[in-house]
């Protein structure tokens, strides 16, 4: 084949291949893909050819289920399987309702309740007391390393602390991970978290009326009163505008 023919073939094929590509305007939905990825990664074990242990396991599982008290419904069994993994601390905080619609309650200055005070140790063992931050606007973020939306919030909180630290704003993270620093420390180190992070306990959870779900974020005004309570993923634009409103009071 002649050189010019070769070039034509090359052009023809490249053109065919190029036309297969999705348009520039197509944007894959990374966030929902990541949620699917995490769900599959955490729930479905890698496929294995060793089917025998699976069959044995299934038989054993059926036998043990049958042995459970008859009054328990299947749903209760599923719930207890999830809760069995967690410590007593986790039971105070129910699992993340990442799929639920976020709710945001912003209270005007006159109607605000005082935020309960607490003292917890940060990653370096230093005591951090909430009331020591009077005079600053505090963004108090309850989170956990196992909660996908919580993890998604961390980088923007780091940016926010960086941008608003000089303007009298302090981000504080309280983790509800039941294995404490073991999970939290590597996570905050890898993401260069630039605000204090503490491990919560049952007393703190109770003081805040029980943390129903994570992430949960509170904005506390300069006098230590709760200005906003946000449940679920808190978009940066949203908390930025809420914090600004409190800063301007």
């Amino acid at each position: 084949m002649k050189g010019s023919d070769m070039q034509n073939v090359e052009r023809w094929i490249e053109d065919l291949m190029e036309r297969r590509l999705p348009g520039e305007e197509w944007r894959p939905d990374i966030n929902s893909a990541f949620a699917r990825f995490q769900r599959a990664r955490l729930s479905k074990p890698p496929r294995s050819r060793a089917w025998l242990p699976v069959v044995v396991g299934a038989l054993a599982g059926t036998a043990s289920l049958a042995a459970l008290p008859a009054g328990r419904t299947l749903a209760q069994r599923c719930v207890s399987a999830c809760v069995a993994e967690s410590s007593s601390l986790r039971q105070l905080f129910t699992e993340s309702r990442s799929g639920s619609v976020p709710t945001n309650v912003f209270v005007k200055p006159g109607g605000r309740a005082m935020a309960p005070d607490f003292t917890l140790s940060d990653a370096f063992g230093r005591a951090v007391k909430l009331s020591d931050f009077r005079g600053t606007v505090v963004l108090l973020n309850f989170w956990a390393t196992w909660c996908v939306p919580c993890r998604a919030e961390v980088p923007s909180l780091v940016d926010f602390q960086q941008a608003y630290g000089d303007r009298g704003v302090q981000v504080i993270g309280v983790s509800v991970d039941e294995d404490g620093w073991k999970s939290v420390k590597p996570f905050i180190e890898a993401r260069h978290v630039n605000y204090p992070v503490m491990i919560g306990n049952a007393d703190v959870a109770r003081a805040f009326g029980g943390i129903e779900s994570v992430p949960m974020t509170l904005i506390i005004d300069r006098s230590g009163r709760i200005a906003a309570t946000h449940r679920g993923l808190y978009e940066k634009d949203e908390y930025e505008s809420d914090v600004r409103a409190v800063l301007n009071e």
């Binding site: 036309r19 297969r20 990825f37």
Partner: protein, 178 residues
């Protein structure tokens, strides 16, 4: 944080290997695009891209080598597999549907008919050839093709023109010879 502890943290991050979440965010879009370019179905491409990322996260060897290259390879292979399954399925369906229904001229000559032919030809080609053509179509340079497919950079040009000839031959044999 002082400089020393920052250095220690960086060292630690390197030792613990890539963070799965970071890799996912950095690579997913590209991988989905590669697959969409192979199978021409963005929605299905997104599903397959998640499967490729899952396979990567469960393959320790893949995480120790060049992640980008491994993912490209896995993506284009996943796409080709899908393409072959689809072509086989369509052939079966056509075998039955032809009895009842003759395709309209519109169906035959629609623009997408050509791309359906390309699907068939790509599915019939040797995998190496198809991978090379598809990745080239994604705009990968000779060097990138070499590192992704583990080829000698000097022979990429030769391989590529061989793949193009194979494509042309297969296309003519199937669609223009008759």
């Amino acid at each position: 944080m002082d400089a020393l502890s920052e250095t220690l943290l960086d060292t630690k991050a390197r030792e613990t290997g890539p963070d799965i979440e970071d890799v996912f965010h950095a690579q997913y879009g590209r991988i989905a695009r590669v697959i969409a370019g192979v199978i021409r179905d963005p929605a299905r491409a997104e599903e397959l891209a998640v499967e490729v990322m899952l396979k990567w996260s469960r393959t320790p060897k893949a995480q120790s080598e060049n992640t980008g290259a491994w993912l490209y390879r896995a993506a284009v292979r996943a796409g080709l597999n899908e393409l072959r399954h689809r072509t086989r399925r369509e052939r079966h369906e056509r075998l039955f549907s032809l009895v009842r229904k003759t395709p309209t001229p519109e169906e035959l000559f629609a623009a997408r008919e050509e791309q359906r032919r390309v699907d068939v030809v790509l599915g019939a080609l040797d995998s190496r050839h198809a991978e090379l053509l598809l990745l080239r179509g994604q705009g990968l340079s000779y060097e990138e093709l070499a590192s992704t497919l583990g080829l000698n950079p000097k022979s990429v040009g030769t391989f590529l023109s061989r793949a193009q000839q194979a494509f042309r031959k297969e296309y003519i044999r199937r669609y223009e010879g008759k």
